[in-house]
Symmetry: C2
Subunit: 389 residues, 2 copies
Amino acid sequence: MSEPHDAPFRFRLEGRCGRARAGCFATPHGSFRTPAFMPVGTHGAVKAMTPEQVRATGAEIVLANTYHLALRPGEALVEKLGGLHDFMRWNGPILTDSGGFQVFSLPKKEIDDRGVRFRNEVDGSSMELTPERSIQIQNALGADIIMAFDECTPYPAEESLARRGVRRTLGWIERCLKAHARRGDQALFGIVQGSVYPHLRESCAQALVALDLPGYAIGGVSVGEGHELMCRVTEHCAPLLPETKPRYLMGVGLPEDLLAAIGYGIDLFDCVIPTRYARSGSVFTIRGRIRLTNRKYRRDAYPIDVSCDCEACAGGFSRAYIHHLFAANEILGAILASTHNVRFYQRLVASARAAVQEQRFDAFRREFLEGYAKDAGGKSAAKDAQLPL
Amino acid sequence: MSEPHDAPFRFRLEGRCGRARAGCFATPHGSFRTPAFMPVGTHGAVKAMTPEQVRATGAEIVLANTYHLALRPGEALVEKLGGLHDFMRWNGPILTDSGGFQVFSLPKKEIDDRGVRFRNEVDGSSMELTPERSIQIQNALGADIIMAFDECTPYPAEESLARRGVRRTLGWIERCLKAHARRGDQALFGIVQGSVYPHLRESCAQALVALDLPGYAIGGVSVGEGHELMCRVTEHCAPLLPETKPRYLMGVGLPEDLLAAIGYGIDLFDCVIPTRYARSGSVFTIRGRIRLTNRKYRRDAYPIDVSCDCEACAGGFSRAYIHHLFAANEILGAILASTHNVRFYQRLVASARAAVQEQRFDAFRREFLEGYAKDAGGKSAAKDAQLPL
């Protein structure tokens, strides 16, 4: 076995436009193009979609949650059944988070330099997550990209708390690397913490960059700080990371968040928004987000977005029909809305990538945001819609 | 417009084996082969499946419920949006029931010769369903086959109640025919009532046959009478109906029910069992029905049924994975189990049809039932499974 950040991982930059980048990351389960958006498969399944439907949206990589899979069905079982790719029938690249974000979000937990102790919400037993244990679980799951176990600083946080987060995160990455040393088929990404404190972000990034990891994430965002602060943190952090490595902004976000972050040089995203919103009937269109459960869509014969080629829109399902499915509590409503939203996100990042390669990213972003803000899905708007995507 | 039972409807018998039949029924939206099983799309959607997934199971006709669609979204809206085929994106044949079964199942209703009055469960208003109103709704929905509004006799029922059911059913079919007279693109099927009383079934069938309808159903079954009585009623009723018309056994049933009824000469079935059972994790295999939620499937690497070619089984999803999806309350569990069960039913009727055409229906049925009863899905059973289907 080789060192964790040897081949088979390779990040190739294929275009630049200002700070925005277009690239391609090779993994043992194939490559994904960047900017990339990862649909979230918390329990090893993207909610309300088959893997084939996920693939059909253009998604090339998915995310699964270490914390949830360790609790149920347990990483040993997943490993016995051939690893996460076989288990969930996704033969493309997979990224697992470290479980850190989830355990730090638990209401009751004990944290120290060793790790985090908490109660298992499935069987009530007491459990511990440490850097070593997180890597052990992620090794067993077998994702292509695995994440360092970090201390995710909440927002707002005093500087002292943010400093502790950076200190622990840097201590824990060393332990993660040691635990992971014998697996060459999984790339371990480090995570920059430091909350909203520029000098803390800098010192954290600097220390991580010195480790020459195969990729870097910006963590401690999407924790309630809002669009503006998220932008400021991202704009500050991205240039601290090596040009030659992929940059992942964790848990972000809305379409406008993604476009801002791509503009700052981010390559990789994950977020539950497209699937979670879909299950409550909230869908994205090039004119903005609309709630299909709203009574005004009861008689609307148009597809969700006339410019969309997803299974729901190209399949001719009307807003009125999907409105009806939600009113009747039919699962097909969630299926169609999820498929649409995930496809919307894939078109968004694919269009951003094309714009970067064609040196027109700023214009693309401006045009998208103008159309997106204008009118959230009125019938006439949908009818006239042009296709900036 | 022509009379309701002119072309474009045509039933062609393509094989016989004892009383069992293989046929083909042509409708304005294409033909379906018989014996046929209709997945149920209560609110205009087969639960947890896209129309494309339903088609991929081999289903050629689906059923939708007049009562539920009249309440929500209302037949006028469905008609405005192009009719039920366009609304639910199913371009093959559709059958709608009359709503009778649903309103007779309501806890509070008033029945007289005119029709049934009840409270609208969606908006609380008071509503009435009559033969004329049922046909009006079904005309607006636009299914290829529509059903007469009948009085469905509950089980058990005194003879006097069953007699009243037959009298009303026969009075109401005349009113249905009159209301439907101007639509030639929808075939109106009559329904034989009479509970478990042979002479009532006979007089009802005789009167309906005299009307020369394009098809006939046996109603008042699957109302709690059990397999044996259902068989006796079906065996008695089927030969009372014309050889040249399709025979539909309403709301039936389990695989063993279907095979018995096909043996008595039934051509058409509908039932919520495959989709409803699927959503609780109960799936059909050639060795019997198994509950995937059972702990014994937690580590089972086999597909639901190794002999199956459905999206779930051929797609390589393990019992362990689907068990996990149900444990984690993931919608994908219901999607995969529904797809499997509907495919199981389609293979069952397609295999029965092939056996009829090859003059080996009794042997097929015997072999199927022997394998089916033997062992409900033990791992070794699944491993060794041969393919009687």
